[in-house]
Symmetry: C2
Subunit: 243 residues, 2 copies
């Protein structure tokens, strides 16, 4: 729309507020409207990271995910509820843009890497100007904190979701030079078994809440339980020796 | 060593100086010694990105890669020359650390993701304190600039090196949900053929010099030549539809 505001997709990084980019911080300080996704009853990870950067008079748009345990995942009901939720969020953003205000949408990590921002991009990119500011990913923060050289030379890095079934995980891990398993959470037991089958458990490192005060880093074989929070991942660095 | 300086591995991001993190900029401004790798005759990408952040009195340590076309890659001579080069760079850093000065080593993108920093980490981590600051990767900058939603839900991302042989590239691409091919440079013709064999050419986007004034973004099928610079990559976003 002519004269409409611009949608800013701002990567706010993995958790430490100092891991915002200078560009994201600048755009955030100037934003008239700041939007963010969060689970019901939670502050929202992206909103918490961005806390020190919002203009005092910024209007906030909170989008609270509808899903709880009501719908089995992958069901039609779940998909329909999520689509309706994203449709509604996009229309609330569009209303602000039509009102000639810029909207900064906060994205933990990087906006286009497993982020809800993508569902807004899908719905709004044809109608409005969008600027995307990349962010430091959770995986990069975690391997930095753990001090793990991940990929060298012509190594391949496989980024996998812990939500995959065990056979798929094991098969993909077997062909990986180096791997990151995201979205570990309550899937840690399965992730362990898949790593065992791929012969990679000895190289695996578990990280939860990377770059935050609650950070925990431990070799996966030394992790005593399968009880892990949502913000956890497993890193498998390259087995290639140094030059 | 007791009382020795600390080695800082600072990710300076993909090219735009505003894509440094606030943390990397802060540590860089305070660094007494700033080290960086560069090819012979070039300023060095990381050094150019960091230019506005160095303290006026910072001492600079430049490490110039020895390789040219003298050694065929993968030869013993090449490997030995690189190992000797990294040994020497590590000892020059160690001398400054022993002198109780902190050394900031500039790393384009992220330090532990295909970076020369890893070879310093390998040589120095047992002897000195090291702090690593993650950075925005070139791939994240490129997919942000191209506006490509890369991975959704339980998609896998495969990060591949364009230096791999065509059969390996084609095989890995066939099993990828989404992919990034790094280090494209003079391998673009081979990368095109591998993408064709995997049936992914229509989704592929070519980006060179992402986030810099020389940026070029084009659908790979519309890229008229195979003449591409070192800082180029190919993105294959997920084929999964939106929710």
């Amino acid at each position: 729309m002519d004269g409409a505001g611009k949608l800013l997709g701002l990567g706010v990084g993995p958790g430490d507020p100092e891991l915002l980019t200078i560009k994201a911080a600048r755009l955030l300080r100037g934003a008239q409207v700041v939007a963010w996704f969060a689970k019901s009853g939670k502050t929202g990870h992206a909103r918490r990271i961005a806390d020190g950067y919002l203009a005092p008079d910024a209007e906030e748009l909170r989008f609270t995910y509808p899903y709880t345990t009501e719908f089995p995942k992958r069901s039609d009901e779940y998909r329909d509820a999520m689509a309706a939720f994203y449709d509604d969020a996009a229309e609330r953003i569009a209303a602000a843009l039509d009102d000639r205000r810029d909207v900064a949408l906060l994205c933990e990590g990087d906006p286009l890497f497993y982020g809800s921002f993508m569902y807004m991009h899908d719905r709004l990119a044809a109608r409005y100007a969008i600027e995307i500011v990349p962010g430091v990913t959770a995986m990069a923060a975690c391997w930095s904190r753990a001090g793990l050289p991940m990929t060298r030379g012509d190594d391949c890095l496989s980024v996998l979701a812990g939500t995959l079934d065990e056979d798929t995980l094991a098969r993909r891990l077997k062909s990986a030079d180096a791997a990151v398993i995201m979205k570990v959470g309550r899937h840690l037991g399965k992730v362990r078994r898949a790593l065992d089958r791929a012969g990679l458990s000895d190289r695996a490192v578990y990280v939860e809440n990377g770059s935050t005060p609650d950070e925990r880093i431990v070799r996966l074989p030394d992790m005593p339980t399968d009880d892990s929070p949502y913000f956890s991942l497993v890193l498998v660095p390259t087995g290639r020796a140094t030059s």
